[in-house]
Symmetry: C3
Subunit: 114 residues, 3 copies
């Protein structure tokens, strides 16, 4: 069985199978925000999606982070470090990649246990 959250015609915001939730890449609602603001919005979106499946940030297995400009690495990390729960941090990888909209600065793809 596969469950889905916000199953649209192009993608679902999340799929759930066998105790794992696979989130779609999350981006900021407000592309005008700076890297800290966008990271805050992305992490809030992740929190909200995980809450829908009764998971939370302490149960993230891996986060793949894409930054449109790798120079935003310190700014993203300032917000990330304040958000993550010490001792419960996921495996993580961060690379630079241009995103689908030019005003997006960060996209995060999360896999979590339920």
């Amino acid at each position: 069985m596969i469950h889905r959250i916000d199953a649209g015609p192009r993608m679902s915001e999340a799929t759930i199978h066998n105790g794992i939730v696979y989130l779609a890449g999350q981006v900021a609602e407000d592309g005008g925000a700076d890297i800290e603001g966008q990271t805050r919005q992305v992490l809030a979106a992740i929190d909200a999606l995980l809450a829908q499946v009764e998971s939370d940030k302490t149960r993230i297995l891996r986060a793949q982070i894409f930054l449109a400009d790798i120079a935003d690495f310190p700014g993203m990390n300032r917000v990330w470090d304040a958000w993550v729960v010490p001792g419960k941090a996921p495996a993580r990888a961060t690379v630079e990649a241009k995103l689908a909209r030019p005003d997006w600065k960060v996209e995060i793809v999360v896999t979590a246990a339920i």
Copy 2:
């Protein structure tokens, strides 16, 4: 137990473990095709690999899409949107990244349930 499809000396086209199939990044056979043609070829390759493990596109959990030029986002989406089954779309993330061969325009990495 891990099963593999087309296990070569460098990589396998897919690995299967505990009800999940992990596909290798799929690219076009004909690098001369435009973005729509390449996307069609990539999705056909994904269909064929999923069929080998009795899965199909309605059981994809996540698709990670890499476009050599993010300007091809609309062209890729035209083919993707016609291919995906409404209500059964996977979680998805799309970013720009140069690919291993300069003529490749799109590479898609799929994780699916069997």
Copy 3:
């Protein structure tokens, strides 16, 4: 239950859940090494982390490889091909992406069965 290896304040080097280990993106310790040297260091780090959970390179399900310069594809492959066990190679995808430190040439993100 989620187990973690080297759980720091920002990330863990690996998370383990339900028979799968999710490694963080691995990079070279010595950023001054060339692509072959850095690939060797990255693969050694992967070997060491997998050994900690009694897994090994024959049980990798997928490797996502990021190269800061896709021109390093042949050099990375020379080391990779000598490392992988024929018949036991994982699914793989390789794309170009700038990495968090400018001297890093390759980052590999591994998912493996235990």
